[in-house]
């Protein structure tokens, strides 16, 4: 049984407590004070020193119905109650209301992990909790895991030279504690637990949201449909994966190698024949 995260983006409030808790517990350095202008996201991406990253997606209504700075104007009739049950807008602008999506992104700890398969030193392993872990005493910083990750999670540290990513708080798990981000999350958007149990919770949550009108709610990475298999960190999303910066159908890069080796073999035979013919013609 593997442990992992269920990240329910529908209750994420973008407080970034997960980012802070992760940095604190794992003693990760700060990344500077750059302002991106991209909503409240000044972290931008996961990386060697950022193992949780909250994305902010502002989806504006096509026609703003509330005139700016005119606070006395009547609010548009947002159809938020149907027979006493609250109904949330499924598309921005559908009821004239903008939508603000937030998601706490993290290493997916894939069942078939590209980084793990790429690693030539065996530094990247699957630990006793079923999670993908980089052993810092083995990693020699070759960097091959970096482009092998279909989610752009792993990164080489420029200062340190080695590859780093979320450990799913291996140290805390060993002591029976939940990871720092899940512990800090005030809305339980990040839930830690056994994957099978988390999936039950997640499926119930999707049903609940669907029944309340969030017809776009679905689980990302909670099944075996893609090459990377079940993600030990899976998500409940409210829009297409691309909107959150996630690939719709993440590939396992090593699946390409077989055809590459076959092409190599074929090329070797052809090239060998050409060279052999070229030299045998020179025989007198």
């Amino acid at each position: 049984m593997a442990t992992g995260f269920f990240t329910d983006t529908s209750v994420c409030i973008g407080c970034k407590a997960c980012e802070v808790a992760c940095k604190q517990w794992n003693q990760l350095p700060a990344d500077g004070y750059a302002l991106t202008g991209e909503s409240y996201d000044n972290t931008s991406s996961l990386g060697a020193t950022t193992w949780r990253h909250v994305t902010f997606i502002e989806q504006m209504a096509t026609k703003p119905q509330i005139p700016l700075l005119n606070l006395t104007a009547d609010l548009p009739k947002a159809n938020l109650l149907v027979e006493g049950v609250p109904v949330a807008p499924t598309l921005p602008g559908q009821d004239g209301m903008p939508r603000w999506l937030m998601m706490s992104n993290v290493c997916k700890h894939c069942t078939n992990a590209g980084c793990l398969e790429a690693c030539p030193t065996g530094a990247i392993i699957r630990n006793e909790f079923g999670d993908v872990y980089i052993q810092p005493d083995i990693c020699n910083g070759c960097g091959y895991c970096v482009p092998a990750c279909p989610f752009g999670v792993v990164e080489l540290s420029k200062d340190d030279g080695r590859a780093f990513k979320c450990t799913l708080c291996y140290d805390r798990q060993k002591d029976g504690l939940e990871p720092a981000c899940a512990k800090a999350c005030p809305t339980d958007s990040i839930i830690f637990g056994e994957i099978e149990e988390l999936k039950e919770v997640a499926e119930k949550r999707v049903e609940e949201l669907q029944s309340r009108g969030y017809t776009n709610a679905y689980l990302y990475g909670a099944d075996e449909s893609s090459e990377v298999g079940q993600l030990n960190a899976f998500f409940l999303l409210l829009d297409k994966p691309q909107v959150y910066g996630l690939p719709e159908n993440p590939p396992l890069p090593q699946n390409k190698a077989k055809n590459g080796w076959l092409a190599s073999l074929a090329a070797s035979v052809v090239v060998g024949a050409v060279v052999a013919i070229a030299f045998s013609k020179g025989r007198k």
């Binding site: 030539p120 690939p247 070229a278 013609k281």
Partner: protein, 316 residues
């Protein structure tokens, strides 16, 4: 051709992380390819060629392999984030990891290269034949050493293509059937050019060595490269191949690698057989080979940074 579809992205931020690889890697791809080409050429020259006239080719190939074989591991170790841990590569063999397999291919190729160069050094009088070292150097039969170096040479010439195509980078991963043959052909054309350069500089002519064979190999390899690139462009379409057709890298690729490194040498071969023209042609092929490796590595980084390209290959 794939249809062009606009995907929603997260502030147009890259979805993937690009590799950190800089000059060590593209220089190694180029040198390793030349070493591989030399190993293949010397094996097949010995097997099929006119023994007297291929002797200088085999000799030059072994010295070039020595140079590339010494530089390659140094470049790769330099590139590591923790160079002192380079031996960790050999603590495990993972058949699913082209980098792990490649490490062993390179190690084996280097080891067998040592056998052939040791014999060559004895033959050339650098190591006294009667000394203990000289006797040890000629212990393994010539044919066995040359054969093993040649066979691992095929792996050496192709594995780098498999290595980069087994990533999530669109430009590389969609070219998994193209890159290994392309790299092998490029290594071969460059090895043939390097050998011609050395043999021309040594003042040899058609009677003393088989220049014709080297020219045939170079021409055939360059034509193969052009065909593979054309096929790649047709198969992958404009969006995925954009890094190699547009911008700084694209200009360098089309002008330098394809124009200067493939088309120009082919034209020069047709124009004249004068010594200096052949010299220029060989230099152009070599410069083009290096430029191609540079552009493919740098183009891969641009491709990794392009969320549109990645989303287009990962849609359901």
């Amino acid at each position: 051709m794939k249809s062009v579809e606009e995907f929603a992205t997260y502030y147009n931020r890259p979805v993937l992380k690009k590799p950190h690889w800089v000059w060590q890697i593209w220089l190694y791809f180029w040198l390793g390819g030349i070493g591989a080409g030399c190993a293949i050429i010397s094996m097949l020259a010995k097997l099929f060629g006119d023994q007297k006239r291929v002797k200088p080719i085999v000799r030059a190939a072994r010295y070039i392999s020595l140079a590339t074989g010494m530089a390659s591991p140094l470049l790769l170790v330099m590139d590591l984030g923790r160079p002192e841990r380079f031996l960790h590569m050999l603590r495990i063999l993972k058949l699913r990891s082209p980098l792990s397999v490649g490490t062993y291919i390179m190690s084996a190729n280097g080891l067998f290269g040592n056998l052939t160069i040791a014999r060559q050094l004895v033959e050339d009088g650098f190591i006294p034949a009667k000394s203990l070292l000289g006797k040890a150097a000629t212990l393994v039969p010539d044919g066995l050493g040359t054969g093993l170096q040649g066979i691992t040479g095929f792996g050496m010439g192709t594995y780098t293509g498999v290595l980069i195509s087994a990533t999530a980078v669109p430009l590389w991963s969609e070219a998994t059937e193209i890159l290994p043959p392309l790299f092998l052909s490029s290594g071969l054309s460059n090895a043939a050019a390097a050998l011609q350069l050395v043999l021309l500089a040594s003042g040899l002519d058609e009677d003393t060595t088989d220049f014709k064979a080297l020219e045939t190999i170079e021409t055939a390899a360059i034509l193969t490269e052009l065909a593979l690139l054309g096929f790649g462009r047709w198969k992958m379409g404009a969006l995925l191949t954009k890094p190699l057709t547009e911008g700084r890298v694209g200009k360098l690729f089309l002008g330098g690698a394809v124009g200067g490194g493939m088309v120009l040498p082919l034209l020069l071969q047709r124009v004249s057989r004068a010594r200096w023209i052949r010299f220029i042609g060989a230099v152009a092929t070599l410069a083009g080979g290096l430029t191609m490796r540079y552009c493919i590595v740098e183009g891969g980084k641009l491709s990794a940074d392009d969320p549109q390209a990645y989303h287009s290959i990962t849609r359901k």
